[in-house]
Symmetry: C2
Subunit: 467 residues, 2 copies
Amino acid sequence: MRQYDLKKFYPLILIFVFWFLKPPEELDINGYRVFIVFVSVIFSILLQSIPTAVSVLTGLTFSVLTGLMPLKSALKGYSDSTTWLVVIAFLIAGAIINSGLGNRISLLSIYYLGRSITGLGYAICCAELILGPVVPSNTARGGGILAPIVDSISKTLGSSPSNNPRKAGQYLNLVGAHANLITAAMFLTGMAANPLVSRAALEVFEIEFGWLKWALGAIVPGLIGLAGLPLLMKYLSPPSIESIEPVRIRINKELQTLGSWTRAEIITGIIMVLMVFLWLSKSFHGFGTTIVALSGLMLILFFKVVSWDNMVKNHKAWDTLIWLGGLLTIATSLKEAGFIFWFSGILENSLLDFSPILITLSLALIYFYSMYLFSMLTAHIVALSGAMFLIVHNLGFEPIIIICLIAYFSNLSGCLTNYSTGPMIIYFGNGYVMPSAWFKIGFIVSIYHIVVWLGIGSIWWKFLGWW
Amino acid sequence: MRQYDLKKFYPLILIFVFWFLKPPEELDINGYRVFIVFVSVIFSILLQSIPTAVSVLTGLTFSVLTGLMPLKSALKGYSDSTTWLVVIAFLIAGAIINSGLGNRISLLSIYYLGRSITGLGYAICCAELILGPVVPSNTARGGGILAPIVDSISKTLGSSPSNNPRKAGQYLNLVGAHANLITAAMFLTGMAANPLVSRAALEVFEIEFGWLKWALGAIVPGLIGLAGLPLLMKYLSPPSIESIEPVRIRINKELQTLGSWTRAEIITGIIMVLMVFLWLSKSFHGFGTTIVALSGLMLILFFKVVSWDNMVKNHKAWDTLIWLGGLLTIATSLKEAGFIFWFSGILENSLLDFSPILITLSLALIYFYSMYLFSMLTAHIVALSGAMFLIVHNLGFEPIIIICLIAYFSNLSGCLTNYSTGPMIIYFGNGYVMPSAWFKIGFIVSIYHIVVWLGIGSIWWKFLGWW
């Protein structure tokens, strides 16, 4: 008899306990039950005893079988343009890795900027910044492109997990990991799930926080944050190495081996530039982020940078489609079943006595540090970002502040742990940093982020006239 | 410079030629243009110079970029319950192969029925019949489960493609291939795309041609067709073998090696029986085919017959999701943009002079033999089944006849070629049958099918009181 993991039944128990209880007055029974399903699914995702997709599909199936929603509604999230933007993001990111363009850009950054150990740190930040807007999965960018390079240049410098990790490897891996989160925060297309925040902002505040606005709000704190990161890390985890000559020799050699730009690299590069251009110029042509991304994907397929047969094997994309589409359905149903209306009514009354600024800031910090509980940036966003927006919705305080904070913190909060998102897992998995150091430094970086993005950021947003 | 396949531009040329032409009077410009996109996509699928999914996605992207439909509408097919039924069908079929249940059922059929070469033919038919309703992808059933077994028992009988193919192998492979199409025709869940026919019937005639009705209409012609098949093949491709003792010895040994039923086989078997029971009893509980299939899938995942990590690697399912969902969107838009209304108006006037029965029969035969042009049963269904329904819609003749004929012919017509559907490709690929023999026998089988399903079938449907 195989051992069953009993944890997977906890969410079911949760459902059974609350399902038959009487809902609070003025809350419709359907709204109440959708909320129970939503909480159980999120709870199940946090427990991680079954795959996320299975948690979500169980929630959907349960909802249909109990008559909570018809099948038609349960599948609605699978035609949501945000869901597809995320899926397309994974597919495009795969193509950039495949074409070799990501690798070449990283090597060139190191070639031009990496003249000292701090220079290497800046080179990593620079590569992240160039790839940030066009590799719309931070895991593909950090984990797939940069982490292997960072690992191998560390070893070239005579620093490996078992041999002198603090000589260079710990420093470089920490810079790589945290730079990835900053560039993820800077662009709507810097992390696959960022569009979910825009979507929530549009739903709750009817404010369009699109590609251009997202990048505009992030450009100053983002660049300052990136510029300070290699220095901060030098202080927090000083590398003992003196000459990085071996890396320079190796990078020269690797670039020579690569030879001239390939057809796939050039075409991919042009498509990427075109996409960024179209994202920036939305106000002129009106095409949204998703259709631009889809067009870019079609160009990639049409020019055979990647074949469809290859692309369809990107399991991560389909896995995300299944769980994200389903979770969006459930989250949207919360609104449709009247739960959101009821909930914001309650909040409005209970928050009357507090200062709106205080509430906004408290929520942003709660949002940031609640990431300790989550093992996936995306789940954190789906579970909490909408709720945060909702709470401040009726406060009368400038909504743009909470939108910016939630949008950027959604990514930056990944700094806290070694399990928060793909690149953290992979950089940590490289093995140069002890868990205790990772957590300690992560916490200090979180304060750094809050100072930069809340402090300098809010001044920048004021300067932009956003509040 | 790489060689480009120019064929892939033909559909684009088609679009450019017709796009700017003035549509026929009384046909809305949008309806006209959606039709052009639809025809171009189908044309591109027929040409097969780019993957089906890429053809469809290009059509969708084009439609959004030209303002023909908003992105929201373009993605609608991805939340269609028919699309998901097909996807779930592939996932369930994968699980049945994975669990070993399909293999065991096939071996048991051979063990009990295979006492002569004709007996082996019946054993294959029997295995197909048992697996038909529960392995909802005919490719998984025929190509994944049975074709390898048929190939290996042929070889055990001393018949291989290079050595005595006509001794036993040609006979057994032909029986296997054509039996697969008959069981595909017999059950709504016998072939992944069958639900599309039901969907079209519901849309055009508002007649629910569900699981039970589909099976009821097919049971008599289907069983007669299956019963006659091994005999017909014995006449068309007589095997020269006399004793099949080697196979009996081998099957005994294989069953012994398998040992007692595994946990995965038992659980999968129970879930399959449960699913068929729920499909049959829809009138009692009201749960549709898709939600029953989804529940079955969740049970498979919950009992870990197959892990989600494994299931998500079923590329065929995701490929189908992408192209089928997109194609459904375009096909549905034909209706929404007014094309269908206009088209049926034209038809109504021009067909007034002909007898409705004659038209129905002619259309059914045209539908059957147009399969020569298609390399995929599903594309044939999407391209033509709705149109066939539409043409007879206003004739006043019993619609159930055309529904039955199109539903069953959608699968049976695969007999014509060696490229019509997965199992044909795989059985033909086993190498026992020369192309000329395959085509000649395929044509004779098509007449056999038409006699059985149109002749006996229509009497049976009359007996059922359907017309």
